[in-house]
């Protein structure tokens, strides 16, 4: 689904954090160009 795409991963403190999303996607061979975690409360 993300093949050949550059990925921006925005995670959430009470959900899935940015580094975790990035690790999963990079592990699957995708290119994460930016990741961050935000707190929305």
């Amino acid at each position: 689904m993300f093949k050949g795409k550059k990925i921006i991963a925005i995670g959430e403190r009470d959900g899935v954090p940015g580094p975790v999303i990035a690790e999963c996607l990079e592990g699957a061979g995708y290119e994460v160009v930016f990741q961050a975690t935000e707190c929305f409360v």
Partner: protein, 474 residues
Amino acid sequence: MLDSTKPVRIGIEGVSYSLTHVPDLVRFGSKPLRELRAQPALGAELAKRLRDFAAATAYAPHQVYIGNIAPEKLRDLPRPWYEKLIEGATAQGRFGDLVDQAKFYALLAGADQFNLVSFEEKWFQAQAAAHSIGRAPRFKPLSEIQNLCDKGALPLHSADQLVGAFESAHEEDASLAAEVLLENLAGKVSAAHSLRLVLDSLNLNPDDIDFVISCSEEAVGDRYNRGGGNLAKAIAEDAGCGNAAGCDVKAFCAGPMYAMVHGASLIQSGVARKVAVVAGGSLAKLGMKFESHLKNNMPVLEDVLGSFAVILSSAMPNQPCMRLDSAAFHPVRAGAAPQAMAEYLAEKPLARLGMKLTDVDRYAVELHNPEITVPSGSGDVPRTNYLTLAALAVMRGLIEKNEMTDFVRTRGMLGYAPTQGHIPSAIVYLGHALDALRSGTIRNVLFIAKGSLFLGRMTQLSDGCSFLLDRNEL
């Protein structure tokens, strides 16, 4: 961490909570201030959606906050809570009170030692003077107040009426700008108010307090010491705790949990006999989600400053106590995944006490009011946290997957705290927890709070702290 077979308990003498309703300061919250500068027309729309004090008082989550309604009753109350107001609600609660804006202005004036705030005398005498404590208020004619505001002071309103001005303390120091100092002074006076409440409710002499720990979020200091802190000592002074020293313990939203552990440790070590853990409200977070509330034709619900004060001392027989030997922190190596947080802040510390996740009768987590957060797409934060704990219980074979909803319902609760950062983070439940432990409704509560360290751009890490409460049954 303590490694002993004997429980280490620190007594919780009492806790107070207060909500300060400041509709005319919502515009100075970080988000509204920025958006209103960009789109001044939003100001009128915001003003139309502000609640009056009666509506804020009769708002069910606020009644839970000050102790008049038990959190478990909240799920039975019709929604939306901002429309289905509680009939006969009062601003006085079993744990504290709601403070109106005029009283708050009087408290600001009384706590101002640097001539930052001034009011128009006629308005002040009619509306606020009855609540004056501390220093005499500074009065200026309305023309001079207007002049100050034209030069950059923050205008203080009462509905449409300009009634005062809040000045900066230095022309070039951004850390002493009016916006920053108003945040800091609001934190100080709201915390001091809660401290006075708990001292009164326990019939304690302020001089009995040895040490005050503030876990308020404000970065008090000048440009060379931004965040230098020790708001605690200013709060102690304001509440008349003449024998107390103090310091601040900060860790984003997890600050109150750390402050409790530090306070309990001072008592356990014999360094202090009676410690107050306090926090004032976060003015920066007022109106944080106001745009979503406007879009959904709701009142702007983030119109209150939250505060609390806890008194800790040596454990007495049958008293609800904090188990210092249960205190747990989130280590650097743990990673920020929700499962890791639950393991390090719940499963592992419970295992140290010989307990499982299902041995905890109630969990206090991030108890943000979902009516505030869901419309903005931030989700139901407490529910997410409870589901993570329930999922871990399923993974460990403690419950079946189809029992997760029951786990969340019986061991959790709906959120009821305003989005004030440190205030909703578990500590908001302490008053109800003491009630439930005293009555025997529950045997224990695990308090878990998380901190978003990544917001400061110094690390990608999350953080957290937890501890168990139970009764000191001998």
